[in-house]
Symmetry: D2
Subunit: 353 residues, 4 copies
């Protein structure tokens, strides 16, 4: 259930609403817009008596029931789109969910300091505004390269320092959340962990924005419910990343489901990110799908780019080389303008400039 406050409500009216909600054993969650405020009521059961009492309080415009299984993630609960501010503390804030579309780029894994710094500079030169790179890598086989762990995080931080770009990196287990959150500007939950609920709660409490990838066989509703775990743990800054679902088609690694962009934006207020690299598994399909994602209304892209895709320790087949990535960026900008948006620009001069 949500309580919509009247335009021009008084602060003490709002406080009274919250107090009443808590007095009957429920919890309140406040969302503020320019002149209005919405109070989400969490808990069960919410009786008609509670609803009627709230409707009668001063400053309350109306009280609505949210019938969807996800509450905090729903548009009904939070009608304005969420805009996430990444890394304000580094003086390099990037906004995701606004007019400008953010391109995150970098190699699948952090493989070495020199290699990653080279990739980071190339990504920045081409116009990326966030750096991606895996320090903890979930691998299908235990015998494959599983990341540099904390050493990888340190390299990511170094790259941030050099380029001025915030970093996004994956965390795989609750015990690693404090460590990864010390370094990362955005915490990434991978597709395989998309229903690892205790991890979702751990990142939700870590104080950093979270990017939640869709599981390979996850429905839209399950995805929003997974986001609900993060939101309900205290993190309002969740972005949802479509990275391809698993189907019978074998010519592509996954089937990138771009219909999630308009669908999720209809059902939810959370920003949507598209990963055309995992979504297709083939570098030569990435540019077309990146352009399509922008046209469909995506708020951000996350693209794998490697200085030498042939030598990548993971995901080389789906990584763009730097020249192809640099060529793609202005084409993305043209499509963004065609749909009334733009591609975000790197916020401040980097140390390397």
């Amino acid at each position: 259930m949500i309580v919509v406050m009247r335009s021009g409500f008084a602060e003490d009216e709002l406080s009274a609403v919250v107090a009443h909600i808590e007095s009957v054993g429920l919890r309140a969650s406040i969302t503020r817009g320019a002149e209005q405020a919405i109070v989400g009521v969490i808990g069960v059961p919410i009786t008609e008596q509670v609803q009627e009492a709230l409707e009668a309080m001063p400053g309350v415009e109306k009280v609505l029931r949210v019938s969807k299984r996800y509450k905090l993630a729903s548009r009904d609960f939070h009608p304005m789109p969420t805009v996430i501010t990444v890394a304000p503390e580094h003086g390099a804030a990037v906004q995701i969910g606004g007019e400008a579309i953010v391109v995150m780029a970098g190699p699948c894994s952090v493989e070495s300091e020199a290699g990653f710094l080279q990739a980071a500079r190339q990504a920045r030169a081409a116009g990326a505004t966030l750096l991606r790179g895996g320090a903890f890598k979930p691998r299908t086989s235990p015998y494959e390269f599983r990341g540099l762990r904390e050493e990888g995080l340190e390299i990511l931080a170094l790259a941030r320092q050099e380029t001025g770009l915030p970093i996004i990196t994956e965390v795989m287990t609750p015990a690693d959340v404090p460590l990864v959150a010390r370094y990362a500007d955005v915490l990434q939950i991978g597709a395989r962990n998309s229903q690892n609920y205790l991890l979702l709660e751990a990142v939700g409490a870590a104080g950093k924005p979270v990017m939640l990838k869709r599981g390979m066989a996850m429905t839209a509703e399950e995805w929003l419910l997974a986001a609900e775990y993060v939101l309900a743990s205290g993190c309002p800054d969740v972005m949802l990343c479509e990275r391809g679902i698993r189907t019978f088609e074998t010519a592509t690694r996954n089937t990138l489901d771009l219909s999630m962009v308009p669908l999720i934006k209809k059902l939810s207020h959370l920003p949507v990110v598209i990963d055309p690299s995992h979504g297709t598994g083939k570098a030569d399909l990435v540019p077309a799908m990146a352009l399509a994602a922008v046209a469909a209304g995506a708020d951000a892209l996350i693209i794998e780019m490697h200085p030498n895709p042939d030598q990548a320790l993971s995901d080389g087949a789906q990584s763009l080389d730097p020249a192809t990535f640099a060529d793609l960026m202005p084409r993305l900008d043209l499509v963004a303008q065609a749909v009334g948006r733009s591609i975000a620009r790197a916020p401040i001069p980097s140390a390397a400039d």
Copy 2:
């Protein structure tokens, strides 16, 4: 195997190559570009001896083996993109596969003369260049509306006369091919008949362009092999229409697989059409996916539009109303320009103008 002729080859050199191919029990298929020609060799087995003999003939630049299971449909066989000319005999030729992107529009079914003519005029006014409408409807249940049959074809012809726009309509069984081909400018094969091989051969011999929809569980390779049936039956003008595949996701009717646009264009020379209406099953997702399809490189769109979606006898939930369709067209044009193309314009003034 394909034989690539030298630039500036002589016609009798080409004839000699064809004659040699036929003399060893194989068949030849000629594709001509501005200054070159390619001869496809069909049949098995093609021995090394045959290959060496052809390589030694005058005018031959090189001989290449096509290892894919589809031959006529492959890029190796036919490196230049196919551009299909629709309805030249009606003085209203439309080209599919060139720079300009064609938008086909109209209701799912032809329900009545007045209703379809209204839809046709609305589609034309908004800028569509082909009319769609089903006269023979495959329906999941035998108790549902199955189309007006020949009466529907006559209404389609009337709408063509009034608007000057060519028509595309479905044919469901070989026995109906001559009838439907008398009326239609493009013969449509539906998803459920995408591996109805005798129907594919019948439409391939009918002398009209063919639009082949992808089956709900059809791989890219199977789709190209189905196209191969049409091509091998004598029809060079095949366009491939992605209309969504079936996955576990239930929030959308199907999962529209836009990665087929760049994939098919890499593997094949045939134009690719996107159907965002069946691809999503929800009218409010159609505009975003239509824009995305254009950005991904689609050669045409086929969009369901109905004067009154609420009253449609079939597929109302996924049909745009005329105002939404009219609003979408200039947005498609902007995205088309952003990727270096345009939306095709109706070729001649219609009787209604």
Copy 3:
């Protein structure tokens, strides 16, 4: 809607019910049990007035509405399981849907007279009661072996004559139905044609039992609706064959969905056949899945067996060799007995005995 007649009703009461149904523009379909009769009412709309009038007629026990989209195929409409008698005219009747489980066996394609007769004798010797073999073969590529056509049908008839076993074979297009129905005892509709509705109507009117394979991406409801097309065309003898659906798994050719056995038998009165050969695509998985199918309650199995699987023109990888097939039969019988059934025995001595 269905009309249940009272036990011991009079024939003229039944006639009056049918007459009333037809008098209001609807159609009647009669199903008789030992002492009862059920009249299905087909057409729309069926008003409450009609229902009340029928309830008031002599001999009528009750009138029920069937809410499912399929009517004739539903258990509500026809509570007793259907038992199909195959080939009574050949003096070698086989019953499908009763206590005894029927095993159909033979090669994927009829490749030659000698080869097929050998396979037929081997199948019979091992205990099969129906022969399978394709004369018309749907092939993914136009360049593959597509069957011997009428010559294949003649070989099938010869094998029936020699072994005394009825034959099942596929028909691919309406124009071939009269020809195939002259030879076949059961008409098979393949997975790719499972929603080729005009073919379903043609076989429904051909006067022979029909085996309808499930499409690769067909839901249970769509399958029963496809059966409804055959039933509504006049054929009461439809059996449903599960042959595997298409999923992301690549270690098997398809995913054999055995849950369709109990599900279909709950929803419908039609017999269920399992095809473990196409269902797995691997000969070494066939025996286990055949045993499982019997335990799950299947009414029949259709198994590919080839005298020399390595040399088969199609589907060799999934064909059992004769020795493995012969070894499997008594094991099937033990499982059948464990679930209170048996494996059907060949009905009469064959000419070869």
Copy 4:
């Protein structure tokens, strides 16, 4: 690579082989049969030189390369089927993977002490040999019942004490492994955590047998690689549980892929468990699929049974009531006997007898 020792080899020959493997920087893993031993060699790269040196050592019969991505899980590496002994320390050992098929039963969640003890007694009375019940429940929504946690584990231990039956229960995150392992006889990894690799390693090091459920979109190879994580962490006692995969079919909750039984047993030595409850999601389909699983060769079944399915806090729709479960057990036994096996009996009289 694996080293097969000659029948009648000497212990010091085996030690020398292990010493050589370790001397070149690789690891050795010994599997012993009645008269033979196999040494798995782990690490990369394994040169030809190493292979030749091992082939020349006394007692070595042959050296084979294992080309599959999973090593410890493969049949090549460990040709004899693994038989897992559960709970020897409770004097109630149950063997999984041998001739007798184990039936695990109980409610989805442990909801209360009285309710669970009632269910446990009913399960035991009907012949189950392992108790299942969830104390930590992964739930799609954060607002659903998530289990009694440690209190649930204590109730499970009480039920074990009363019935003499070992218990299996799920663990969801590495931090809970020590706690759950103190109570559980088998640690269960759920479908959503099937690629939570750090959890797999944590349970692999916990000293208890592990049951690894297949993910909803997991291929057979990925499943065996997930098992490889557990095996490589030191736990040799891994059983694989098929619980249905996600497909387009909506009439069942999941599609139970019974072909995994023969496929996994061909590729691997690990026992296979079937979960017909989650596999179908419908109680009335469970008996048929349980019977089919036994016929297909499953080593164990895990079945949800609840004293009052209508009142279950989770999964009521797929839970058998005690009478249906009791009715099913002797039918399973008949099918087991038909395939040369039996249903395991409860090992010792329980305190309740």
